[in-house]
């Protein structure tokens, strides 16, 4: 099976661990990803201003590229790319006037009316692979690993692009359980990690991010599983700052969900690029016996 794939800029630089592990894991499941031949940045944030169509050009252009390749579906890994593309897609499907303005402006491109479907890898695993088949493919169950999923804002909001039931989603729980891990509920799994506030208002951002870490730790999580490089930045890379302000918190490893998928499917941990995880993620897997200790 082949699957159209939109990577997003960060996955080609700082978040190679998110991309490489996903592509290898999909290979184990018999799925070849086909990256869009041409693509540009999705715009990262969906523009909410009703009259601001210029910011829709970038995501819509990506969708046109997918359509031009004959794809009926395009898969994303990054939550923010997913959100931006899926919402731009709905705009093109549902708003006739804006669709016309955008198509007229991009007259050098094929006309687009939302023909391609934007999905996130978690949806693909659930709907196209199926949890039972995934479970059967697991070679190294993530047993003894207490994992708390972190949806963040963009996987389940707004309602019309939610990858699952929006108020109490279970897709991440089902994913963790299919891999043989233990799901840990956290009240803050869909609270904002502070997003770009980490740059403009770091104090408030660290407060917000610390609540996410605390909630997961209080419930007994060994690690967070997430799907967004920005969340990873705030909760992983900036965790040192969180711990500095909150010395009662313990370090909490963070994983991209695709890394967990890959190790469970027996992919070489080297491919999963754990060296890019800012937290001691590989060490946790070694300690739990999920991957063999490489460091003597």
């Amino acid at each position: 099976m082949t699957l159209g794939y939109y990577p997003g800029c960060t996955l080609k630089s700082h978040a190679r661990n998110l991309e490489d592990s996903a592509i290898e894991a999909l290979k184990v499941l018999g799925v070849e990803t086909v990256e869009l031949e041409r693509w540009n940045c999705c715009g990262a944030v969906y523009s909410l201003a009703d009259d601001d169509l210029i910011h829709q050009l970038a995501p819509v252009r990506d969708l046109i590229r997918a359509k031009d390749m004959g794809l009926d579906k395009v898969m994303t890994l990054c939550s923010m790319c997913y959100n931006t593309l899926a919402r731009a897609n709905l705009l093109m499907r549902n708003d006739e006037a804006k669709r016309k303005t955008l198509n007229d402006f991009m007259e050098e491109e094929s006309d687009y009316a939302g023909e391609v479907e934007v999905i996130h890898l978690l949806q693909f695993l659930k709907n196209d692979i199926g949890w039972d088949k995934l479970k059967a493919a697991v070679k190294v169950p993530l047993k003894d690993l207490n994992l708390s999923p972190y949806y963040g804002c963009t996987l389940t909001r707004p309602l019309e692009v939610s990858i699952d039931e929006a108020v109490s989603p279970t897709i991440f729980k089902e994913f963790i359980e299919a891999l043989g891990g233990t799901y840990i509920h956290s009240d803050h799994s869909a609270e904002c990690c502070s997003s770009y506030q980490m740059i403009s208002n770091p104090e408030a951002a660290i407060e917000a991010a610390s609540k996410v870490v605390r909630s997961a730790e209080d419930q007994g999580a060994d690690a967070l599983a997430l799907s967004c490089p920005l969340c990873e930045y705030n909760l992983g890379k900036r965790q040192v700052d969180i711990l500095k302000k909150h010395d009662d918190l313990k370090p909490l490893p963070t994983f991209y969900f695709s890394q967990l998928l890959a190790v469970a499917l027996g992919v070489d941990p080297l491919i999963c690029r754990f060296e890019l995880n800012p937290t001691a993620s590989l060490e946790l897997l070694e300690e739990k016996g999920v991957v063999e200790k490489v460091s003597a």
Binding site: C9, S13, R38, N40, L57, E108
Partner: protein, 269 residues
């Protein structure tokens, strides 16, 4: 209609072409329909001090924008390559202010972050594609900017390879960047850090340094100074220069490092 027209090289030539109206910076001129924009401008009395270089479509000095009646599209062409069309409104944009960051080349390591630091405006691209639409070399400018944004310097170098630095893309950018300067930095980094080193190029540089070509150079320099506005330049020196120019050899773009020239001007072995 037949008439005499002065041409760039100072020769008079019988023009048998129809005269057509063109508007150069808004003023109407009747020019022979077979001329390029550059020659038509000279025909109309303009003299190029800037805005012309190679006259062969490679130097990028002569970028020109024009519009045709009843069509809102902005059209572009190199003045030295594009033939005039009836009723076209045109102006040359030989130069457009565009910042080029200076950096210490020896300190560059070949990382995308260095490009981001030198040209942070890169991230103002909104994918409007206006740049690609005006590129006279048909380069998908937006795509090389997109590739740089995601750190794919190799792809960006490949896409922008044919850029002649005409600057027209920068005239249209809503992000106000000078795409071609950014791409040039990337191609230089690509050449130094990513591409396979070319052995014969290194040899050639050695040959130049060793003084192997000094005599050839002196020979050429002794051929006298030419005044492009004089009619009597067709002397022996010019003939010799032309011969040398025609006999010059260049590495074919398809060669894979195994090419060597076959004349006297060969690379030192």
């Amino acid at each position: 209609m037949c008439q005499e027209a002065p041409l760039a090289e100072g020769k008079a030539l019988a023009i048998t072409a129809e005269l057509i109206p063109v508007y150069i910076m808004g003023k109407k001129y009747m020019v022979p329909e077979s001329l390029t924009i550059m020659k038509a401008m000279e025909y109309a009395g303009y003299q190029f001090v800037r805005g012309a270089g190679c006259r062969g479509g490679v130097c990028g000095a002569c970028g020109t924008v024009y519009r045709l009646p009843g069509d809102y599209h902005i059209r572009v062409g190199l003045a030295c390559q594009t033939v005039v069309q009836p009723e076209m409104y045109l102006t040359q944009i030989p130069f457009y202010p565009a910042n080029r960051t200076s950096f210490v080349w020896d300190e560059i390591k070949g990382e995308a972050e260095e490009v981001y630091k030198a040209y942070p405006e890169l991230f103002r691209c909104l994918a409007c594609n206006a740049c690609s639409k005006v590129c006279p070399m048909d380069i998908p400018v937006m795509d090389y900017i997109a590739a740089i944004k995601r750190g794919d310097l190799e792809k960006a170098a490949e896409i922008s390879f044919d850029c002649i630095q005409c600057g027209l893309c920068a005239t249209r950018c809503m992000g106000e960047m000078a795409q071609y300067h950014i791409a040039q930095m990337v191609r230089r980094m690509h050449g130094k850090f990513i591409d396979v080193p070319s052995e014969h190029c290194a040899k050639q540089v050695e040959a130049i340094k060793s003084g192997y070509y000094d005599d050839f150079m002196k020979e050429i320099m002794a051929l006298g100074t030419l005044d492009p506005f004089k009619q009597d330049n067709v002397n022996d020196d010019v003939k010799k220069l032309k011969e040398l120019y025609k006999a010059r050899q260049g590495e074919p773009s398809t060669s894979e490092n195994e090419w060597t020239p076959d004349s006297d001007y060969a690379i030192l072995k």
